[in-house]
């Protein structure tokens, strides 16, 4: 991959272009129950990446042909708002968005108890409000929170993070600059409570050793993000008492 050599992504002190250490994630903010009309919703920020997820259902779909007799189907729509990028993005679903919708669906299907609700659909809408790298993994984190908020039974909470390689160094939670000029990008989602990896993609070239090291970096970060998810969900119910 041809990286832009005009900009150094790792400086002489070993810090990244935004001052983070290679194994440091961006500040993460989470909020649940942000939309009143949805069964469950969440807003997740990974630094400047901002993603909204809304869950509807389980409900009977308008088009009955799609239902399955033994389980609920998950319908995921990952979409980037036209204003989410520096240059306007066409609001029509692109090839990339359709594919990401599929991989996000598969990352969540493993944990949702879909067999409890046969013949129904669970709709998950993921809207990227601001894109700065790692939107798919932030989308998975937001969806997992929104599903829990909706009261849909899940075996575990899922979270995601992307590992990249820039200037030959493995870095955690890549942003847009590192993603577009780096050598590789590896989005990972997992459910630490189940010891289960639900999403594993690699774009670029990494050695076997780098994949292993990157994976363990990501899993450690995911464990932390899931603990953040849990405290966010707990807070929603614990905060109620404090305001009275």
């Amino acid at each position: 991959m041809q990286g832009k050599k005009s900009m150094r992504l790792i400086d002489e002190r070993g810090l990244r272009h935004d001052g983070r250490r290679p194994d440091e994630i961006r500040p993460i903010r989470m909020q649940v129950g942000v939309l009143a009309n949805a069964s469950g919703s969440a807003l997740v920020e990974y630094g400047k990446t901002k993603v909204l997820a809304a869950v509807y259902g389980p409900r009977e779909p308008q088009q009955k042909f799609m239902i399955l007799p033994d389980k609920a189907i998950l319908r995921v729509r990952y979409h980037m708002a036209p204003f989410s990028t520096t240059e306007r993005k066409s609001p029509a679903p692109s090839r990339r968005e359709i594919e990401l919708s599929k991989v996000i669906r598969e990352a969540l299907e493993d944990v949702v108890l879909t067999s409890e609700y046969p013949r129904t659909v669970i709709d998950i809408f993921i809207e990227v409000l601001q894109a700065d790298g790692g939107t798919r993994v932030a989308g998975i984190t937001a969806s997992s929170l929104a599903l829990a908020d909706a009261g849909i039974p899940m075996k575990a909470l899922v979270a995601g993070v992307a590992v990249g390689k820039v200037d030959g160094v493995l870095v955690l939670d890549v942003d847009e600059v590192e993603d577009s000029s780096g050598e590789a990008d590896m989005p990972i989602a997992a459910a630490p409570d189940l010891n289960l990896i639900t999403l594993f993609q690699i774009n670029g070239v990494l050695t076997e050793e780098e994949v292993e090291r990157g994976l363990s970096m990501a899993l450690k970060a995911i464990q932390y993000i899931v603990s953040l998810e849990k405290s966010t969900l707990k807070q929603k119910y614990e905060a109620i008492g404090e305001e009275v």
Partner: protein, 232 residues
Amino acid sequence: MISRGLHGVIVLPGDRLDSRVEGKYPEVIEVNSLKIATLISLVSQRDDKLIIVPLKNIYMPEPGHIVIGLVESIGMVNWFVDINSPYQAILHVQDFLGRPFNPASDDLYKLMKPGDYVKAKVLSFDKTRNPVLSVQGEGLGKIVKGTIVDIQPAKIPRVIGKKRSMISMLEEKTGCSIFPAVNGRVYIECPNRELEAILVMAIRLIDRESHRVGLTERVAKFIDEERMRRGV
């Protein structure tokens, strides 16, 4: 470890539970013979037993449940009723009339139209077919007066309270009659509009704060204060 002012400990999807916790599928699942929570729930101790109560769940109909349904649309010989579950319920007109349906003289639209509430019993349901309702029974049928308050189905037991403590307090303090249906709809009938408004606010308070300690007293205080302020 009990959190401040809560009835117990909040557990989240994926949290491992104490093996003594009693809960049914799908609220509690077993993975590798370990009990795991699947919903945001509250684990609390009740008479040397650990019980788990979800803070939010989805209503699943069961034969015998008395539910409050909202008529959504009308078919040839039936109504389609929303019972706040993933599955739309069906109420047949023969059942409603208690006699065979005569298309020449009976008009479904005149009996019940979309937007009407109906109190009915779930006759049958097994997830392979949609639930069928019946209004044959005492107190069942179209709801003609009163108000419906929509709350979380998981909070209905809290509206009733231990040995009906909450509901009898509410009825006593407001003079309203209350029917909490398992599907998360509370039917209330009050002597006047002011009392109705107070009761609706009190039920919403229970919905919001169901998991906090000393709720019955707080709701009682709330009703007293509201009645004083409004002079009813």
